[in-house]
Amino acid sequence: MSTPEASTTKKVQVRRYKPEENPKEHYLNAEKGVWAWMTTIDHKKIGLLYLGSITFFFFVGGMLALLLRTELLTPAQSFIDADVYNQVFTLHGAIMIFFFLVPSVPAALGNFILPLQLGAKDVAFPRLNLASFYIYTIGTIFTLIAIFTGGIDTGWTFYTPYSTQTGTNVLLMTFGIFILGFSSILTGVNFIVTIHKLRAPGLTWNKLPLNVWALYATSIIQVLATPVLAITLLLLVMERALGIGVFDPSIGGDPVLFQHFFWFYSHPAVYIMIVPGFGVISEVISTFSRKVIFGYWAIALSSLAIAFIGFLVWGHHMFVAGQSSLASMVFSFLTFLVGIPTGIKIFNWLATMYKGSIDMKAPMLYAMVFLFLFTIGGFTGIMLGSLAVDIHLHDTYYVVAHFHYVMMGGMVMALLAGLHYWWPKMFGKMYSEFFARISCVIIFIGFNLAFLPQFVMGSQGMPRRYFNYIDQYQAFHQLSTIGAYIMAVGFVIMAGYMIHSLLRGKPASANPWGSRAMEWQTSSPAPHHNFEHIPVIINGPYDYHKPMSEFQLGIAHSTNGHQSFEKVDVNVKSAEEKA
């Protein structure tokens, strides 16, 4: 395609393509039947398949959490015994992390939205995309078998030597997560290639939506970190099957080596979970502030900076595991550094809202909740990263609260913001704005009630993962449990209005939020191949000072000459010649 004389720019003839409102044919009815769904290579449907799966696992993980919280209402045993309790908190952690958080925004929302934001017809490798969904499914089947044949009680971290000696079914569980890792790797490979090679004409790197930058950074982490988890779990499986003696001290191995290996993946993995959330928040805040994003490059590059520094901080999980004090100091310092790019993001989002015309629709409300909760989560993370404080707080409820503020207050709120934001594009239906705001407020209240007391009791010394406790903590535990119930009510309301929207929702317009971003310049729900034309991009995705007509351009077909469309010549940098 590239003509040899064209250096960086070329002229194409474009015309405006207004998105069709309420189309009769769209991706949801292009193919029919269960079999068509199971074998689809359409990235949008695969995204919805993932969305269904993670919703299921969020429900399962959430029910387990409610079980735990109910047991903790009283200091002594109330209705489950200690062994069952160990299994339940392990499953809650493993399911929420490996089956819900890791694939949530990248595989579910990312799959749906990435090609739309690039103006591409699909991801680079659609069949690989479907394969990665089935690999995910196979991994979950292994895990479910493990749960029903002995369960697992090691905690989601599978620390040796306990995990090599416990009688529960660690082997199948870790093998399931090993398989799951390949799904994550393939998604990452797919996204990186798609972003590099399938951008629409004119969509240069400095016009990429920030969500794409965030997914790009996430994919890099997925590709670089997940193989290390894979080999770690493979070694763990071999340790149990053959006793190879790499991790188990009783046969000559080193358990701290396991921790190094495990956290080399699992610390970057928390950035796999949170960085795509940053991308969603950037989109939502700019759209609902009607304003160009403040500090585009600062936000884009800080995602990459987090991805990079995230690989160098794994040792902060092992401050009390006997690593050298020099190593601990270096890891502590590097941990503080992660706060810088994160802070850059927060301030840029605030600056974007400043003097914007803010519209507090449900997605924006979730973005506000995100900013509030994630800031608390981030600050407490810095406190845990300082050496002296960590000695005191290590393995207490403080860590539990910090982690939930980052993962649930951060990532889940970002996921909900994104889900409410892109819901009309996914299903072509609107949800009840009133109930969406109600449930957002309820979840916010419930969340804080559940986890703020945990900071307090953690700093007073309540250790995590204990199934009973001394009386002085009872008030905190009860507050926390009530908070969990309130959150559950919020999610039940959400399920209610979402289902109502699917069945009876008002039809959504192509661009209900008035966004300038590319995914909104096609009909809702999107057509089978995303765009009926080849989109051409001349403006940045957040240029709200420019007219909408400049965001709906596509290559004009010379065969349609008899139609009286206004055609314009524009210079675009071709996506394939990105230099």
Binding site: P126, L235, G243
Partner: protein, 218 residues
């Protein structure tokens, strides 16, 4: 790009979501390179374990590596390097549209890969007979070092995982031969040959690191 180029020419191998063959080829190649990065990190974990235990038990590595047969290891190294040459020649044949040459070169590569596996089989068999098995099944008493089993655990993990990659490579190349015989590849479209070649070179390079690290320590 002119709007006609995407529609007038639409070869059979081109998937609908790509604009042209170049874009498709570049995408596939880039995807393979990124996959190879994940492979390096996958093996990287094992190399890290190797380094850690070698730092702790240097004398164990010196002693235990003498149980490995450097002669057959060297033969296997040459076999794999030779197969890298033939797979490169297969790609060259595809570029020149010489389908017969492509098939012959693929068969030679498969033959060499099988030779590697056969030699590996005899190496494994000889050790297992002596009782040099991984982990708790280790019963050999010819070595004095009490942690001798750990060296061989790492040896079996590394070479075993590498061997698995060789077997996958054989499978991929058999598939290439099958497709090539049906005329799927020609000078305009040989992407699967190219990216399988990339994979095969990586398998080769990993062995080039494994051989001195395991066989040639003393």
């Amino acid at each position: 790009m002119s709007e006609t180029s995407a529609e007038t020419k639409h070869p059979a191998h081109l998937h609908h979501h790509f604009v042209d063959s170049d874009q498709q080829f570049e995408s596939s190649k880039m995807g393979m390179w990124i996959f190879l990065v994940t492979e390096i990190l996958f093996f990287g974990g094992l190399f890290a374990a190797y380094i850690v235990y070698r730092a702790w038990y240097p004398e164990l590595y010196l002693e235990a590596s003498q149980e490995l047969d450097a002669f057959w290891g060297a033969i296997n190294t040459f076999v794999l390097i030779g197969s890298s040459l033939t797979v490169a020649m297969a790609i060259r044949s595809a570029q020149l549209n010489q389908i017969r040459g492509l098939i012959i070169n693929l068969w030679i590569t498969i033959g060499l890969a099988c030779t590697f596996m056969v030699i590996k089989y005899f190496e494994y068999a000889e050790k297992l007979e002596k009782g040099i098995a991984p982990g708790i099944y280790y019963t050999y008493d010819g070595l004095e070092h009490e942690k001798a089993n750990i060296f061989f655990s790492i040896y079996y993990m590394m070479t075993g995982l590498h061997g698995l990659h060789v077997i996958i490579g054989i499978g991929l190349m058999l598939w290439l031969v099958w497709k090539a015989k049906r005329g799927a590849y020609h000078s305009e479209y040989y992407t699967p040959v190219e990216i399988t070649g990339l994979y095969w070179h990586l398998v080769d390079v990993i062995w080039i690191f494994l051989f001195p690290l395991l066989y040639l320590i003393d």
